[in-house]
């Protein structure tokens, strides 16, 4: 397997993990909204909290994590841009 193919395999793997996390915080949580609301976080009902803040925070964190991970993959195979002009 060439270097490019290995790089793309890892990139695809990261993409699927990222989308799995996205699916969890974007959809799975809200499929069970009714039962989640009986629990609470910071005093908020849990489903309300996830909707108002929780999932939003998760998305921001996932994006920064994804950008760093992908940079590491690019560097591992020598495909990172040399300077940040």
């Amino acid at each position: 397997m060439s270097n490019k193919e290995k790089h793309w395999d890892k990139t695809k793997g990261l993409m699927f993990i990222t989308l799995a996390l996205w699916f969890f915080f974007g959809y799975v949580v809200f499929m069970f909204g009714g039962s989640l609301n009986s629990a609470s976080f910071l005093g908020y009902p849990l489903a309300y909290y996830m909707c108002a803040q929780g999932s939003l925070i998760a998305f921001v964190v996932i994006l920064f994590w994804f950008a760093n991970k992908q940079e590491a993959i690019d560097e591992e195979f020598g495909f990172a841009e040399r300077e940040d002009n």
């Binding site: 490019k4 790089h7 959809y27 989640l36 909707c51 939003l56 998305f59 690019d74 940040d84």
Partner: protein, 612 residues
């Protein structure tokens, strides 16, 4: 100042923010000295709009690269701010907290949908489109699939989605301009349009970028300041972390006052103006049943997938200096968006509590109607047809279902309701104007660029020189802006309806051609064309079938006119896959596409279109 322009940006915007703070303080002093509320409102809107126009003028350019993609040198974090302003429209700013106020948990599907889409943008599209080096979104489609027909189809989807969206934004600009300046709505629309064109005409993407950063600063200050101030007044200096008890208290008060849905006949008899609502949905309760969950999730799907297909957002990531910074920039964009979106439910909570909780001096529910009608802000907003009181049971006491407000009032009137000085209301008006203008700018530019670059330069007259291309681009900007203002002044749809439709159009026609264009080498030109035409066609047909103003048929499985992308996008995907499999041949063209995508998929090296 010395050094590269981009190195000085933090200093420049720091000074700008400081200057804006001084302006707010001066206005506060002027208010104490007796300046009228109306003058303060005019000063706020006029001062900020003039600043944007000056930035637009300073960023004028005659270079193609600067005009279309801001010279590809917008630093990561600043591009994040510009994207956030591009993204958060007048509707987000003015109507979102109000939507949550009336719609509760169900409405908050928009918060999740309008943030999660950025994960699709970053993981599937933005870095690859940046590496591709295109000027516009149809530029990618045209080059990846080859041929003018594919490019033309992409232009059609882009224009349809963005134009639907831009009328809503010009509508919002006009509403705010007319209220702040005290002119009729029809005139306000044209004032708004001229302000928008001043920001974009001379400098294209470069000018829009630097005004959007300035607009982000104004809008975020205007949104956060009143919420933190109100929170502090109620003893919660960090409302995001501390409002758990308040949310619970609203639940108690809802039980005490009772959530009543008024009958349409009663509303008509009492003469409640259209567009005003009373609270009839619980604040934090999740509605039961699989159908409610499906409606929530289907709306989230449409908004997320639509986010990743809207050209005015994707093109912001063409302006970063590198692929790496495009990825980081998406993360920063969402961070800046999060600051406002996470505050909207807090604003709705505080606002609701102030009106409902009998322990607070500001409350009106449960008080005598005569007393409530004597309050100054109630009189002002009643006169403007924004709030209404209907004593259905004739007991002279204001019940929860007898108090009506327009959704925008929650943001615009909350400072007055909470008894904050008028300078805050002026600031909020300037923030709303900034939000509506920045989005309208991005949209008008996306349409004009697609028409001038893809339709005129690539299809009609490939030999046109730089000067001629830029003249065409600017002329189109004026024509599109004027057409948008004309349609907006007719007020055909509600702002929310138009915004959701834009997402559904984009999702039906563009999402899969873009994503499969990067991720599936065997996607063919015929497949993409079939997908774009079929997806957009199916979505539009379904919209006409269920749209309340069209055939108004009963939706299937709760897929109403806000969610028609649920029909369009799968049709697009199936057509694209089937037709691609039928037409794929392992010939020289397929090999060239494969080599091109191999280059697209790694950050290092020249852009595909070679204009780095």
């Amino acid at each position: 100042m010395k050094g590269k322009f981009t190195d000085n940006l933090p200093k420049i915007y720091g000074l700008y923010t400081g200057g804006f703070a001084i302006f707010i303080i001066l206005m506060a002093i002027a208010e104490q000295a007796g300046m009228s509320a109306k003058t303060i409102g005019i000063m706020f809107v006029a001062f900020t709009v003039v600043i944007y126009a000056v930035i637009g003028w300073l960023s004028r350019t005659v270079q193609v690269e600067a005009y279309y993609v801001a010279g590809r040198q917008v630093p990561t974090v600043f591009n994040g701010m510009a994207t956030a302003a591009d993204w958060m429209s007048g509707a987000s700013f003015v109507a979102m907290a109000g939507g949550i106020y009336f719609g509760g948990y169900t409405y908050m599907a928009f918060l999740v949908g309008w943030t999660g889409g950025y994960i699709l943008v970053s993981s599937l599209l933005a870095p690859y489109l940046r590496k591709f080096g295109c000027y516009t979104v149809p530029d990618f489609i045209g080059t990846r699939y080859g041929g003018n027909l594919a490019r033309f189809c992409a232009v059609i989807v882009l224009v349809l989605a963005s134009f639907t969206y831009v009328t809503a934004q010009i509508n919002a600009t006009g509403t705010i301009a007319s209220r702040a300046l005290g002119v009729p709505f029809e005139l306000g629309v044209w004032v708004g349009l001229i302000s928008i064109l001043m920001c974009s005409m001379l400098g294209g993407m470069r000018a829009v970028t630097w005004t959007q950063v300035a607009q982000y600063i104004v809008l975020i200050v205007a949104y956060l300041l009143p919420v933190f101030w109100m929170g502090a007044k109620l003893g919660n200096p960090f409302p995001h972390l501390m409002l758990g008890d308040e949310v619970a208290r609203i639940g108690e008060l809802e039980a005490q006052f009772g959530l009543v849905k008024n009958a349409a006949a009663d509303l008509k008899a009492a003469g409640v103006p259209g567009g005003l609502s009373s609270i009839s949905v619980a604040h934090s309760e999740v509605p039961g049943g699989a159908m409610a969950a499906w409606k929530f999730i289907s709306l989230v799907i449409c908004m997320m997938v639509g986010t990743a297909s809207l050209p005015h957002i994707l093109m912001r990531y063409f302006t970063t200096p590198s692929v790496k910074s495009a990825r980081k920039s998406v993360a920063w964009s969402l961070f800046f968006i999060f600051l406002l979106y996470s505050t909207a439910p807090m604003l709705a909570t505080l606002s609701k509590l102030q009106l409902m909780d009998p322990n607070l001096a500001t409350s009106i529910i449960g008080k005598s109607i005569a007393d409530v009608q004597a309050i100054q802000w109630v009189q002002d907003w009643t006169a403007a047809n924004q709030v209404f009181i209907a004593d259905f049971n004739g007991d002279g006491i204001l019940q929860l279902n007898e108090w009506f407000m327009r959704t925008g009032v929650v943001v615009l009137a909350t400072p007055e309701i909470a008894g904050l000085p008028y300078v805050i209301s002026g600031l909020v008006a300037a923030g709303g104007m900034a939000a509506a203008m920045s989005t309208a700018d991005g949209l008008v530019l996306a349409i004009a660029n697609a028409l001038s670059h893809d339709l005129y330069y690539k299809i009609i007259d490939p030999k046109a020189d730089v000067q001629k291309r830029l003249i065409v681009a600017r002329a189109l900007l004026i024509v599109i802006g004027a057409a948008g203002a004309f349609v907006a002044s007719l007020r055909l749809t509600s702002i929310l309806g138009a915004v959701a439709w834009a997402f559904d159009f984009a999702m039906s026609g563009l999402f899969f051609p873009l994503v499969l264009g990067v991720w599936w080498k065997k996607a063919t030109r015929q497949g993409a064309i079939a997908g774009m035409i079929g997806g957009l066609g199916a979505g539009t047909a379904y919209l006409i079938y269920v749209g309340p103003k069209f055939m108004a048929m009963t939706p299937w499985l709760g897929i109403d006119h806000l969610r028609f992308g649920i029909i369009g996008a799968p049709v697009c995907l199936i057509l694209m896959v089937v037709v691609s499999m039928m037409t794929y041949e392992d010939n020289a063209e397929a090999k060239a596409v494969s080599a091109m995508l191999d280059e697209t998929r790694i950050p290092v090296g020249k852009t595909i279109l070679g204009n780095k």
